[in-house]
Each structure stands twice: as C-alpha cells, then as structure tokens.
Symmetry: C2
Subunit: 408 residues, 2 copies
C-alpha cells in the first residue's frame, strides 16, 4: 500500500466555561495539526500533534516540509526500517537547526510518525495495540531510533526487554478483558469554582473513578491548599488524588508549596517547575520525598527523558506521543523507562485516543505496571471512534488503526 | 520614538565549496529570519535569528504573531521594563505550548528582542555596547527576565554583580583601545581537504590569528585525528586549537575519541554530543578532564544553561544571542555564567555582528574575562556595517545600533 499524497489539516476546538484551564494555560483552545497519508484506497493514515490553537499553522507547514519524502513509499516497506527513516527526518540539517528534536518541527514529526503507525495498523487491519504486540522484538526495535541513548540502552538491551516480556505476556493479558483503568483529569480545572470541583468530584466517584486530578499553581497558594483539602474531603481517604502545577512555580516556591500540599497525601505532584529543569526537579524530588514527582508532557525528546531518569528527577514518566516524535519515540522512551525503573503514565494531548493503545502494549509487551491512563472527555464528539470509558475503564479498542481519525 | 509597523524578511545566502560544513550540517545554507521595527523616522530596529535555510519561513511567521503587540509602543517606554514584556511574550500560552522557550518560536523571539535593543541603541545614537554600559545596574536588570533562576541568581544578586563591576571598569577599559580578540573558525570546515586546512591555517596565522578551530566528527575518527595533527603541526605548539564535533558523537564515542584528540592538546572540545544531554556532557567533562568542554550554540534557554552550570557539564559557555531569546536572554545567561564561574565565549550565528558588542559589555560591565570571539567572514558582504577585523582583533564598533542591518 503506497502513500500517494499527503493532506494536512489545522483543526481547532473552542472550550467553554473554564474547561482545560490551568495555572499557565489560562484560557486554552485545543487544537491538532493533522497529517493524513492518502493511499489511493479507502485507507488513510492519520497522525496528530496537539497544540493550543494559535500557531498550529506553523506545525502544519512543518509537516508539509518534513513529510514530502514519504510520498511514493510503500507502508510495509517504510516500517521495516522505520528507525532509519525517523532518524533521517529528525536529522535533516536545516530542520535540525530549528530544534534539534524539539518545538514546532518536532511536533510536526509527531503527527507524521503517528500517521505512519496508524496506516501500518490499518493496512494490517488490526488496532495499533495489536499491531505492536504482533511484531517480533526485532521488528519493533527496527521502527525505533535509539541514538544518543547508548550508555543506558543499547539495541540489544531493548530487544532483551521485549523478549523477556514476550514469555510472560500471559500473566498480563487480563487487561484485554478488564480494559485499562482511567483517571479523571477534568474534575478540577484551574478556573473552576470550589463548588464546581466538589460537584465534579462527587460525579466522578459516582461514575466509578477512584483517581482524580486537581490543577494547582494559584498566585495564592492557600487557594491550592483549600481546594486540595475540599477534594480530599469529598473523595475520601481511599481516593487517589494528583495535583498539577503546570510549571507555575520556581524551585524555592515548589519546595515550599509541595510540602504544604503534602497534607492531603497526593499520589504525585505534577510539573512543579519548568519542564527543562532536570536539576530543579531533582532538587524538588529529593526534598519532598516520599511525595512523588510526575512530569513529561512538555519534555520533547528521549535525550531529556534520559537525563531526568539518570538524575532521579521524576517518579512518573508522562511522555506524550503527540509531543515527542510520535509512537516511535514514545516506545523508545517507554523502553528507556522500563530499563531505568520508572513507570509510564502518559499525558494525553490526544485525549487518550492513541495512548489507550500504547498503554496496553506497554503493559503486555514491555511489562510496565498497569497503573492508570488520564481521561479527558472534552473532544469526544470530534473523533470518529472516541475512546469508550465504562466504569472508569478504557474499553479495549477493536477497530483497525490508532483511533486518531477526526470528523470533518 | 514609536514602533509604527513591523517588516519581516527571510534572507538566505548560499555557501560554496564546503564553506560552513560540519559533521551534522553537511551542506548548509546560511539564513536569517529578520524582524524590522519601523518607526516612521529613518530609524529601523533590526533583529536577527540565525537558521540554515529551509524552514526560515516558519520563524518569520512566528515573528509576525509574537511581535504584533509591539506596534504602537514607544521604544524608551518599552525598554524601561522589558523583562516583563519579554516574559509576557515567552509565556503567551498557545506559543508556550510550542516550546516552551525553544525551537521555532524562541528563534522568532530572538529576532524580535534583538530588534528592540537595536532600535533602543539607535534611538539613543550609541552603539549597543555603549548603550548597555550606560545603563544603571537596575535599568539593565529591568530589561531581563530572571524567572526560573531564583535558586542560583536573584534580582538582587544580578544587580550586585553589575554594581561591583561598575567600580572596577577602569581596569578593563583598555579593550576599547585594543579591540576584542578574534579566533578563526573558518580554517577547518568539515568538507575541506587536508591541503586546504593546512593552507588556511598558514593564512590565518599570517593574518595574526593565534586561535583556530577544526571541525571533527568524521565517520572514521582517524580522519579527525590526522587533521587535528596537521593543524597542530602547521600552527605550532603555541597556537590555540579548538575542535568541534557538532553533536556527532554519542557519549561512549565521545569518551573514546576525545581521549585520542587530547594528543594535540586542544583548548576545548566543542559540542561532543547531543546539546540537550546535560548528564552526558557531565560524564564527558568528568572523564576527559583536564581537557575542557565547550557547548551552547544549540542550547535554547537560560534554564538549560543553568542545569549545565549546576552539573559542571561545560567549561565554556557558547550562548548565542540569535538562538536564545535575543540580547535580553544572552545577558541573563552571561550574568548566570558570571555568578557560577563559567566563561562566556559566544557562538556567532550573527557572524559576530551583535556579539562584538555583547562581549565588550560582558568584559567591561560584568567582569567576564577577555578571551576571544569567534570570527566567521562568509556573510561580510551582506552586512551594511560588517565587523572589522584588524590583526585578528575585532575593532570596536562606533555606529549606533547593534550592527545587524543587512543590505537589500
């Protein structure tokens, strides 16, 4: 199946009434730069990169430049050695100068790479999670670019992780019967009133969720502490509550406020400071332990994740396949996480559409723990095959592809 | 003086015969995304961001978006509290998502910020270096955004560095008579033949240069070692020779090859591996000492520089004002470098046009050592006021502004 042409779409979705707001992104619009690989058949590979509206056109333009060499390629042939294709795209000199491996050009790469995996799965008529499980360890690793990781993860070690876990898959297959547990990110957006977060918490618990997130990072930390206390009181001591500062604090502020938020026993504190600050996160993680740090939605590539793991600067890895270089780099970072003992709990700029597949593979194929996956319902009506949540569990997707197709 | 409109230019310059080539950027085109702040007078503020050709249009489009709020602003008024203006631009939520503080949108910011400082200097009818020296410590620091650095550099500490060095300026004013020493980057581009690098070395020495750079990172390390030996033999034991791998090696490779290159006693080894790899550089720096590591041309912002300094992962800071957020962030990183004891030897994507001003200020105003500044002559004919090099010293620019204006 040959890629005959590429269509690029700039899709933007307005949000209302404080939905999606956090301490840094106060009135977001959600948006996707979409790469569509056309084939001359009814099948189209669709790949997403997530943005916040203005500037999505920059990502779309970069998709146009970077994806051009894919035209004329056969999808099976392309994916046999996709790691090399990937490296050639990311190391194209003039685009590399605009990064390397970060920002607008890397978001564009995410959309392109995701479209390739989507088309690969569709062409084999299987959902993405099954495509990945059906690949041999060598075939899977051939689709990855492991450069710049050699001192911590070699090709041989990557294959070894997959091979070892191949033998124990049966122990983890039950997730295909139960589905993958979700957590509710939408109870506590930043601009929601106290009354609303209490009402949302009750509703989420009624719907079966036992894990919830609250946005913090208020100018007045007492607002954060009050609201965290309200959710704890409403949800009860057994509930899992995460707090998310969205990079708002500097390091001294984070140290001070995290200690105070510790009173409500949060499961993690997310993005306490600037996402580039490896040493800052290391300082925070050391000082607030046993409280745990989660971050990753703004970390653009495997090299920086490697540094975070080496520095023990995060306890949970929130890599996002619509931020890093797509499914390929997501899997690379998941292997690296596994090797270095860090659990992966993705951020879902894709609203969980692709990640519902990826966490199934991470659990069954790589042996990552079945923790939970973020659930954000706000764009559900725009997807052709929206993720299905029943009793707070993502239902296992059965339709071929990566569930990324959007309605027109 | 009011900014009445903004003109944006995409300028590209072909290079011939291997000029500009390195191990990663094999056949570069040099290019600038240019932000021109028009005033309704004969004065225009010009700011550059450096790119490698294709994709410069993305930076230009981002300049258009990010600079729009500057229209109607008075330049003196704008610069009184430019640190806040800067932070508002970099933290604009939808653009921040495309970084934060890196890639295409941050390059666009560089061009905009540089145009603001250029116009500020032109409106006061002084060269940029003199504008900066004439500012009080408080005025200078007001033009900076020190957020996310608080644990290592507070506003008070920044002012203190400048105030202390105000009192000792007389000891360093002689640079205004001698000019600032240059080093020659152009003897040893990657694609040049052995014969050519030997001939160029002789010519550079004849022209008074005592410091030279060779591009390394060949697929066969023996080529690097042979060529480094040739330059050492030609230039003599007293010459200062730097080698530059342009990110080509992974960490194990870098450790191996740096030790071998140590034989020619290089002054520094530049960009031994991926520019995001703080821990990788730390490992290399620790293991190859007393050999020294230089990096920075691809480090996009102050937070990552902070990490490199904290980890003792670089010995020379090669911040580039046409990569980070312009003059403002360059000065922030220079203050941080001073505070943490790291010398600043800028990379010159601007061909030294702006940096000739900035190193004068760094030396006189901040007390940074007068080492040397990279000299690259290839775009000289395109600048209206090209940097003048006499006997390998940058002559002190006297024309108002930052020497950034390009011919049409």
């Amino acid at each position: 199946m040959q890629i005959t042409s590429i269509e690029i779409k700039d899709k933007r979705f307005d949000l209302l009434n404080g939905v999606g707001s956090d301490a840094t992104h106060t009135t977001p619009q959600y948006a996707y730069a979409v790469c569509c690989l056309k084939t001359g058949t009814s099948l189209t590979g669709t790949g997403l990169a997530f943005t916040l509206g203005v500037g999505t056109d920059l990502v779309c333009k970069a998709i146009e430049y970077l994806s051009a060499p894919l035209i004329g390629r056969d999808i099976e042939d392309l994916m046999q050695d996709f790691g090399s294709v990937y490296r050639k795209m990311v190391d194209s000199p003039s685009f590399r100068w605009l990064g390397p491996h970060k920002g607008v050009v890397h978001l564009a790469l995410a959309a392109i790479v995701n479209a390739c995996y989507d088309l690969w799965a569709k062409s084999r008529q299987v959902p993405l999670w099954k495509l990945l499980l059906d690949l041999t360890p060598e075939e899977l690793v051939n689709s990855l670019d492991l450069s710049y990781l050699e001192e911590v993860l070699t090709r041989e070690q990557a294959i070894e992780i997959l091979t070892e876990n191949l033998q124990t898959r049966a122990l983890r297959q039950d997730v295909l019967a139960t589905g993958y547990k979700g957590y509710d990110t939408s109870v506590g957006w930043f601009n929601f009133s106290d009354e609303k977060i209490v009402a949302n918490t009750k509703k989420a618990m009624d719907n079966g969720f036992t894990a919830l997130k609250l946005k913090v990072g208020s100018d007045d930390p007492m607002r954060d502490i009050r609201r965290a206390g309200l959710i704890r009181k409403t949800a009860g001591d057994d509930a899992t509550i995460m707090v998310d500062a969205n990079q708002k604090w500097n390091v001294p502020e984070a140290l001070d406020i995290c200690r105070k938020l510790g009173e409500i026993n949060p499961f993690w504190i997310e993005e306490p400071t600037h996402p580039d600050d490896v040493i800052g996160h290391q300082t925070i993680a050391r000082n607030i332990a046993p409280l745990k740090v989660a971050t990753g939605e703004h970390i653009p590539n495997k090299v920086i994740f490697k540094n975070f793991f080496q520095a023990k600067a995060m306890d949970f890895c929130q890599v996002d396949a619509v931020r890093v270089g797509g499914v390929s780099e997501f899997l690379t970072i998941s292997l690296l996480s596994k090797r270095m003992g860090i659990p992966v709990v993705p951020h879902v700029g894709d609203m969980g559409q692709i990640h519902q597949h990826l966490v199934l593979f991470n659990h069954i194929g790589m042996g990552h723990e079945h923790l939970f996956l973020e659930h954000i319902p706000h764009l559900k009506q725009h997807f052709i095959n929206p993720a299905e949540i029943v009793d707070a569990y993502y239902q296992v997707p059965q339709i071929p592809g990566s569930s990324s197709d959007l309605k027109d």
